[in-house]
Symmetry: C2
Subunit: 311 residues, 2 copies
């Protein structure tokens, strides 16, 4: 039997999936991410878990045609990570090390957000196109650029770092990355709430969002009902996202934008505010691009990891 | 004999070059761009000129292994132009048509700024790297992204449209493209002069640039001598260019930035103000990139055109 493993290493859990070549997900499971001793056990734990899964299914390493790994940090084309603060990792070749630990020959590693973008291209919101940009609006803002069906890695493994595009040069507060005015400061779940608090502190208008627990969802729900303050907040969010997408289009001109992450549960309402602001910020030749919602949720990482090792 | 032709179609002249495979330029010449009847004679004129050149050198079409064409407008991967207002062209397949007119089999067409970037990668300022971004600061601001030794064309042939990245959302004036705050409005030769005039109109400080004919060169020369107003102007230019380069790096993470065009005659002084502002606007992983000057001048287009058709 010919199978592939997709591995998505996060700060808390490692997500694993066993796939067939056509993308059929046979089984998925998770193991905890053991961060002790600068994360030195993580890859070994994954290798052990894969061997157990093979034994369970009466398969051997010879049945495995490849394993792809998504990692929360910059990874260069040859599989070298340049520090993953979330895991405690320094600089080393993840692909080489996992090859030794697992006995699997065909191993590739990539940045988790880039890998998720590849997954959405293959089986999710970007299906049918080989040239997409994915933006993940979650606790942070991640992204990935896929061109010709392959991840754009960049010289230092830092291509597609969309969350740290500057979209507001007047921002006084500093982002986690040390810069100011990053997209992540406005378009992550936490950023959206922070911007709402800022507005509510200086604005006396009546609004339902003042009365309830403040969350991205509450703001979108209120905006959909026409709440003036909430509409203003979502319009501003659309401005920041539309501006970031305009930079992406002027530079890589993708066929499709795919928007994912928890914030994207706002659905077409969110896409519409992005579309409007996007069209106002690009040249005529780039207007009216397709914006779609991601469809794979938390499985995007394991799907994209597998796609990396399928020729 | 095995030769290649590089063709760079501009609004006034067509530049032509006859090359060997290693990039050795055997001969170069120009013909006027005949724009009559929506530019319908341009490609035919080029084909005739190439045939004359072959006859002059006692060569035939069989000696020609390929011809590349740079065109002033968006061109898709398959050679279709989507309007070139400068030439009067509508939508048609330039590569196909030139194949028929010239009898040369191996023909490719690309956007002129993208093609120039490829030329600089191959034989100029980007030599030694396959992943570069080139920015041309001339009458307008053009650009090109080269990844893995190939032009990034984009879905609609509009990738690398760096001159129309928004770098100032507070700009009241409209750019030629219809948007506001495009890089071209500040970093083209005309944009630099316009910004200087704006500052001089509202500022009473003593400055040598008030006394002479205002040009990008005069402003750089004064800044190099320490003229306070001129320094302020070049710093602001560096801010806009550094910001645009930060977008490029966060999205494609190139190995080298190459700066060309007439404005780049300011040399290392210009690169230094860009470097400083770039480093302040990118994540740590992207700091300290290489910035180099273009070296091919007006030959970048014909060189890159040839590189397109060399396997």
């Amino acid at each position: 039997m010919n199978i592939y493993f997709g591995i998505d290493i996060g700060g808390t859990t490692v997500k694993l999936g066993m796939f067939e070549k056509d993308g059929n997900l046979l089984e998925k499971w998770e193991i905890p991410t053991r961060k002790k001793n600068n994360g030195e056990y993580i890859l070994g734990d994954v290798a052990v878990s894969l061997k157990e899964k093979l034994a369970e299914n009466k398969l051997s390493t010879e049945d495995v045609l490849g394993a792809g790994i998504g990692v929360p940090g910059p990874v260069t084309e040859d599989g070298v990570v340049h520090q993953c603060p979330n895991l405690g990792w320094g600089i080393f070749n993840v692909a080489d090390q996992f090859r030794k630990l697992s006995g699997i020959e065909n191993v590739k590693a990539g940045n988790d957000a880039n890998v998720a973008a590849l997954g959405e291209m293959w089986l999710g919101g970007g299906k049918g196109s080989e040239n997409i940009v994915m933006i993940t609006l979650g606790t942070g803002v991640g992204g990935g650029v896929v061109l010709g069906g392959k991840i754009l890695t960049g010289d230092r493994g830092a291509a597609g770092e969309i969350g740290h595009l500057c979209v507001n040069y007047d921002e006084p507060d500093t982002c986690g990355c040390g810069k100011r005015g990053c997209l992540e400061q406005y378009a992550s779940a936490t950023g959206i709430v922070k911007e709402a608090k800022r507005l509510l502190a200086r604005d006396n208008r009546e609004t339902v969002i003042r009365k309830e627990h403040l969350s991205a969802k509450a703001i979108f729900d209120a905006a959909k009902e026409g709440d003036e303050v909430a509409v203003e907040l979502t319009e501003k969010l659309g401005w920041y996202l539309g501006l970031a997408c305009s930079y992406l289009a002027q530079i890589v001109d993708p066929e499709v934008f795919v928007i994912g992450g928890g914030v994207s549960r706002a659905g077409e309402f969110l896409l519409d505010v992005i579309r409007k602001n996007y069209d106002g910020n690009v040249m005529d030749a780039l207007k009216k691009k397709e914006f779609r919602l991601a469809t794979l949720g938390n499985d995007a990482g394991i799907c994209g990891a597998v796609k990396m090792v399928i020729a």
